[in-house]
C-alpha cells in the first residue's frame, strides 16, 4: 500500500515509484504560476504575484531572480527551498567564472541545479526540494535558452513552458499560440498566457525580459501597457464572429 513506501525517500515502492518525489511535484503544482517563452532574440519570464497582505512590503516578494549577469530564473513551489537552491546556483555561477574565466552556459547551470535536486532524492535524512525552476539566458555564442528543472532532478529545454498552478491550461495555450516572430510578440505571448489563469492587472504579474547583453525587469507601467494590448486583442477577437 502507498503509505508503507512514502516514509523514507530512499525506498522505491513495489511498482517503481518514489513517492516523496511525486509528493514534491504536488507541492510545485500548488505554487504560483510561472511562464517562460523563448524567442529568436528574446527570453521572457512571467510569474503570478500573490496579492500582498495589507501590511506587507511588496518589495520583499521577488519571484524572478538573477543568477548571474546573463541568467535569470523563476520558480514555482516552496519559496524557502528556492532561496537555498538559488544561493547554491549563484555561488556555482561565480565559481565557474573564477575557474574558467568565462560565463557559464545555461545548460551547465541547469545541469548543476538539477544535479543538486537529484542529490536530495538519493540521500539519507533529507527530503527533495519542492521546486520547479524555469532558467533562461543567452549563451556566450548568443543562443537563447529556456530550461526547466523539477524535484526529481530532471531538466528539459523548452521553446515555451509553464509551471505551478494551472500550468496545464497555460501550456495548452502556449502550444496553440506559440510564435517567435518578434520580441514584442514573445513578450505579449507570455503575458497573454499568464492572464489566462491570473486575474487581470499589472499588479498581479511580474515580467522579466532578456535580450543579448541586457536583463530588464519590467515596471508596473510597462506591464500595464502589455496587459492593455492583450485585453484589446481579446476584445477584437470577441468581436469577430
Amino acid at each position: 500500500s502507498m503509505s508503507r513506501y512514502d516514509r523514507a525517500i530512499t525506498v522505491f515502492s513495489p511498482d517503481g515509484h518514489l513517492f516523496q518525489v511525486e509528493y514534491a511535484l504536488e507541492a510545485v503544482k500548488r505554487g504560483t504560476t510561472a511562464v517562460g517563452v523563448r524567442g529568436k532574440d528574446v527570453l521572457v519570464l512571467g510569474v503570478e504575484k500573490r496579492a500582498a497582505a495589507k501590511l506587507q512590503d511588496p518589495r520583499t516578494m521577488r519571484k524572478i531572480v538573477k543568477l548571474d549577469d546573463h541568467i535569470c530564473l523563476a520558480f514555482s513551489g516552496l519559496s524557502a527551498d528556492a532561496r537555498v537552491l538559488i544561493n547554491k546556483a549563484r555561488v556555482e555561477c561565480q565559481s565557474y567564472r573564477l575557474n574558467v574565466e568565462d560565463k557559464s552556459s545555461l545548460e551547465y547551470i541547469t545541469r548543476y541545479i538539477a544535479g543538486v535536486q537529484q542529490k536530495y532524492t538519493q540521500s539519507g535524512g533529507v527530503r527533495p526540494f519542492g521546486i520547479s525552476m524555469l532558467v533562461v539566458g543567452f549563451d556566450a555564442d548568443g543562443t537563447p535558452n529556456l530550461y526547466q528543472t523539477d524535484p526529481a532532478g530532471t531538466y528539459y529545454a523548452w521553446k515555451a513552458h509553464a509551471i505551478g498552478r494551472n500550468s496545464k491550461t497555460v501550456l495548452e495555450f502556449l502550444e496553440k499560440h506559440y510564435t517567435d516572430e518578434s520580441n514584442e510578440e514573445s513578450i505579449k505571448l507570455a503575458v497573454k498566457a499568464l492572464l489566462e489563469v491570473v486575474e487581470s492587472g499589472s499588479k498581479n504579474i511580474e515580467v522579466a525580459v532578456l535580450t543579448r547583453g541586457n536583463v530588464e525587469f519590467l515596471d508596473d507601467e510597462q506591464i500595464e501597457k502589455y496587459v492593455q494590448m492583450v485585453e484589446d486583442e481579446k476584445a477584437e477577437e470577441k468581436k469577430e464572429p
Binding site: L67, D69, N87, C93, Q94, R97, L98
Partner: protein, 230 residues
Amino acid sequence: MGIVGDGFTLLAADSIAARSIMVFKNDEDKIYEIDQHKALAAAGDVGDRNHFCEYVIKNIHLYQLRTDISLSTHAVAKWTRNQMAQSLRKHPYQVNLLIGGWDKNAGPELYFMDYLGSMHKLPFGVHGHGSNFTLSIMDKEYKPGMSLDEAIGLLKKCIKELGVRFLINYQNWIVKVIDADGTRVINLGDDEPATVEEEHHCGLTLLVSRAQNESWLLPLNRWLRKTILA
C-alpha cells in the same frame, strides 16, 4: 601608483611581468576592474596577484548578485582586507594592493593595502621599491582636488623620475581613471613633461617652454616638435 583628484581616482601600474632577469610580458594589465566604479591595482608575485584579485572580484560579484546592493569602495576594501588578514597565517598572499573607486556618496577614494593586511585610506599611494623615489615627488606636488590633466602630469613626473634614478626601467604603464562615468584606460602618449630646452635646427632656435601645468600648451608643443624635428 594611485592619485585621488577632483571627482576621479587615477590608478597606474607598470605592465611588466618578469621573473629574475627574464621579462615574460610587457603589456600585462595589473589593474583588475571589480565593477564599473572600482578597480584593484596589484603588485607582487604573479600567481598570487592573479589568484587573489580574481577571487576578490568574483566574490564581490556574487555578493552584489545575491543582495542586489552595489557595494561602496570602503566596503570592498574592508572585505578584501579581511580576506588578506585571514589568509595571513594560513596561506599568505604576497600581493600589495591599491583599491581605487568612485562612489556617489563618498566620491573618489583610494585604499592602500600591503601584503600583511594593513590598510589605509590615502589621497595618493605607491607600492614597490620605486615608492622611495616617487613618494617624495608626490609629497611635494600633490594638492587635493587636482584636475585629471594635473594628476596625469604628476604621474608622468613620477614615471620620468623612475626612469632617471631607479634601477629597473619601468617605462611601460597602464593607466586607468575611475569617475562617475565608469572606468577607462588613459593613454599617456609619448610626449614627456617638457622641460626648458633649446632646440637648434637649421640655425633656428626655438624655446619650448615648460608645459606641465599648462596643458593647453601641450598640443602646441607637440606640433612644434613635429614640424621642426620632422
